[in-house]
């Protein structure tokens, strides 16, 4: 056998092997770098850049610097960036074909940083999240908008002209010209009649024999005309009294007007939940979509597919692996503990993150422990994040818990349109997130509590004149804290969202009070306006009546004077007797 061995062949190669092993820690650095980039780009689908990699075979340590992972959805931004990653491997595990990172540390972790070059991979298709169709309560927003439209319509209408008192006044004013004309006509006719009568009388007096019949009827006619003059005079005198009934009707109509205005300005209360949706839904859409996006991203990175299938695909394409009895299967790759340190931005604030990622494995079912991530902040904003990604059982289960106690929220504008907006001054808030994704079923709540809030309402231009915003501000001044809860249901592809907040009921209640006050105020304003208009119009009527009186009275007086003159000339009212007539004959008259 020894004769078969080529020592002169084997020995140089053995020496070469030793040299290679010594150089390996330098060469391995490049290999590790290549492998990190390759596997990272394959799993993330975007460019992964690694600055410098060092491998220490004796120490079992790998150090990677300047790691940048691009964001598939925003290629000009990094998903995450780390200054230094250090992994301490367990050497014994390598002998058993296992890669176990006993402990590791990632420093300078940052999220969402800018990139100088695009991070998109040319031949890869970016896995964009499907939009979240119909997860918002659009119907509620539509109902709220319709309610606000009705509100604006109610207060923008000019109801004064529709009031009964105004209507009756207008009718009276419309009737007056006719009555006036009728009166003028009657006066004119009476004057003509008087003139005509005077002419007849003069003619009859000039020739009494011929107009004896006329003279006989003259007293009666005179009496009739005088009666008519007196009647017309009385009517003219009583002309202001004629509108008294109308005035009484106008006064009576005011009560009806009050009722009418109360009915017209009455606004049905809005459903508090509808108002909540209107105020908060669009504002919360972004953060909730981000949250669901993170869950989707976790599922992409750690698929819910059965780990064994993944393992089989990953392993040899030829043959099957047999697990021997008494020889437990173990995962190929395990990270027992990884310390994380970095920064992130939350609510516009930069926060220092410290945390631990533990039990990361390529085959969690074999590892038997779910992957856990725990992050806390060290700055002024206390935040604790716990994520559990469990692939140990038959159903994938992800859980996300976030507890943030003192996030400072900037000024917020709530409301879907300018017809009603609430402005919340900057305030501190606490956020609690508890989400569970079991299989594809999503469940959990997001709770936000804002304390010491200052709410400033604003309404559309159509409602400025009724001072609704002031009334609303007064009512909303009592609200000291706003609590909001978003309940997530459904699946990851079709999540459903239920929104609850105390701001909806509080604003609805404040709105009711403010609207009631505004409606009363507006009704009072309208009634006063109507009264003023009625007064103005009736005064005008009175002026016209007085004018008419002053115009017609002299005419009637003229007629009366004419009649008096005629009556004076004819002291003897009635027909002349034959004796009287004979006395009037000349003394030498044959008939005397």
């Amino acid at each position: 056998m020894t004769r078969m061995l080529r020592w002169q062949y084997a020995l140089p190669r053995l020496a070469l092997l030793i040299v290679v092993l010594l150089a390996a820690q330098f060469v391995l650095g490049y290999l590790v770098r290549w492998q990190v980039v390759r596997s990272g780009e394959r799993s993330v689908g975007a460019v992964v850049e690694v600055g410098d990699t060092r491998v220490s075979l004796l120490g079992g340590r790998v150090t990677i610097r300047d790691v940048r992972v691009a964001n598939t959805e925003a290629p000009m931004r990094n998903l995450l960036e780390a200054d230094r990653c250090e992994f301490q491997f367990e050497p014994k595990a390598l002998l058993h074909k296992q890669t176990i990172v006993e402990r590791g540390r990632i420093d300078g972790l940052r999220f969402g940083t800018d990139r100088a070059t695009s991070g998109a991979i040319a031949d890869s298709v970016a896995a964009t999240d499907a939009p979240l169709p119909g997860w918002l309560d659009d119907e509620a927003i539509t109902r709220a908008r319709e309610w606000l439209d009705r509100l604006h319509e109610k207060f923008e209408r000019d109801l004064v002209e529709q009031l009964d008192s105004i209507r009756l006044t207008d009718e009276l004013l419309a009737r007056w010209p006719q009555e006036c004309e009728s009166l003028v006509q009657r006066v004119r006719e009476l004057r003509e009649r008087t003139s005509k009568f005077q002419t007849q009388v003069r003619q009859a007096e000039a020739n009494p024999l011929r107009h004896g019949e006329v003279l006989d009827q003259m007293p009666d006619e005179l009496a009739r005309i005088r009666a008519d003059v007196n009647l017309l005079n009385n009517e003219l005198q009583d002309l202001p009294d004629l509108t008294k009934s109308d005035r009484r009707a106008i006064v009576a109509a005011r009560k009806h007007d009050e009722q009418f205005l109360k009915e017209e300005l009455r606004i049905e209360s809005i459903d508090p939940n509808v108002l909540t949706a209107y105020l908060l839904q669009q504002r919360l859409t972004g953060p909730v979509a981000d949250l669901v996006g993170w869950l989707r991203w976790i599922r992409r990175m750690v698929p819910a597919e059965k780990p064994r299938q993944v393992a089989e695909r990953k392993r040899h394409h030829r043959g099957r692996e047999v697990a021997f009895v008494g020889c437990p299967r173990v995962p190929d790759f395990v990270v027992r503990s990884l310390d994380l340190r970095g920064t992130a931005r939350l609510g516009g604030q930069s926060i220092e993150l410290v945390g631990t990622l533990s039990d990361l494995s390529d085959e969690p079912a074999l590892h038997g422990q779910p992957m856990r991530l725990r992050l806390t902040t060290t700055g002024s904003m206390p935040l604790e994040l716990q994520a559990t990604i469990d692939r140990t059982g038959p159903v994938a289960r992800d859980q996300l818990l976030v507890d943030c106690g003192g996030i400072v929220l900037p000024k917020l504008l709530l409301g879907g349109s300018n017809k009603l907006r609430l402005s919340l001054a900057p305030t501190t808030a606490s956020i609690n997130v508890s989400l569970t994704l079991e299989g594809d079923r999503l469940s959990g709540d997001v709770q936000l509590v804002q304390k010491q809030v200052q709410i400033s309402p604003s309404v559309g231009e159509g409602l400025e004149h009724v001072h609704l915003a002031d009334a609303l501000a007064g009512s909303l001044g009592d609200i000291r804290a706003v609590a909001t809860r978003i309940s997530l249901r459904g699946t990851l592809d079709e999540p459903r969202c239920e929104l609850w907040s105390n701001i909806g009921p509080a604003v609805a209640e404040a709105m009711d009070r403010a609207l009631a006050r505004t409606a009363n105020y507006q009704a009072g304003q309208m009634l006063a306006q109507a009264q003023e208009k009625v007064g103005e119009r009736l005064a005008e009527l009175d002026r016209q009546i007085a004018e008419q009186q002053s115009e017609l009275r002299p005419q009637l007086a003229g007629s009366n004077d004419t009649l008096e003159l005629l009556a004076g000339d004819r002291r003897i009212t009635g027909r002349l007797s034959f004796e009287q007539l004979g006395c009037r004959l000349p003394a030498d008259s044959l008939f005397r």
Binding site: L5, L95, V322, F324
Partner: protein, 170 residues
């Protein structure tokens, strides 16, 4: 003209065959056969490769055999899989397998893979027949090689036929 075309092939064949004995040629071919049948990427294949280069066997013929059987060995995978499964599932051997598998470096040998074990067993089973056949062929080739050379020389230079054989061979 024809000799010009055939010369590279003839010289390549000579490179593999001329400087080794039939025994070394046969051993190299048999080792290459086993190496070719095995899936690569495990320490068994690496060990066989080191063995091929370390032993006094014909490396060239071994590599040719490895390439040929690598290309065609996948045909045997279904049978190798069944064979490997039968062996690895054997109840009486489980404890032994488990003990071996738990030793350091043992998992790198991938002997718990059905195709690896099956192919190795097939290779080991056929290693001697292949060795023997190759040996016979090589002996026959060596025996006839001198006659072919004489015949070629007589065709090329008839006047040299009287010269000693050793000089002609040189």
């Amino acid at each position: 003209m024809l000799s010009l075309l055939v010369r590279p092939i003839r010289r390549s064949a000579g490179m593999f065959l001329e400087s080794d004995s039939p025994r070394q040629l046969a051993a190299g071919f048999a080792l290459g056969m086993v190496l070719g049948l095995l899936p690569k990427g495990n320490l068994i294949a690496v060990s066989l490769c080191i063995l091929l280069f370390s032993m006094r066997v014909n490396t060239g013929l071994g590599l040719v055999a490895a390439l040929v059987f690598s290309a065609t060995g996948a045909i045997l995978d279904p049978f190798a899989d069944k064979l490997g499964m039968a062996v690895l599932s054997s109840g009486s051997l489980q404890a032994s397998f488990a003990t071996v598998y738990s030793l350091p470096l043992a998992p790198w040998f991938d002997f718990n893979n059905t195709v690896v074990t099956g192919s190795l067993l097939i290779g080991l089973y056929f290693i001697y027949p292949v060795y023997w056949l190759t040996y016979v062929v090589c002996c026959w080739f060596n025996a006839n090689k001198s006659q072919w050379a004489l015949a070629r020389a007589s065709v090329a230079e008839p006047s040299d036929a009287d010269q000693p054989v050793d000089r002609r061979a040189a």
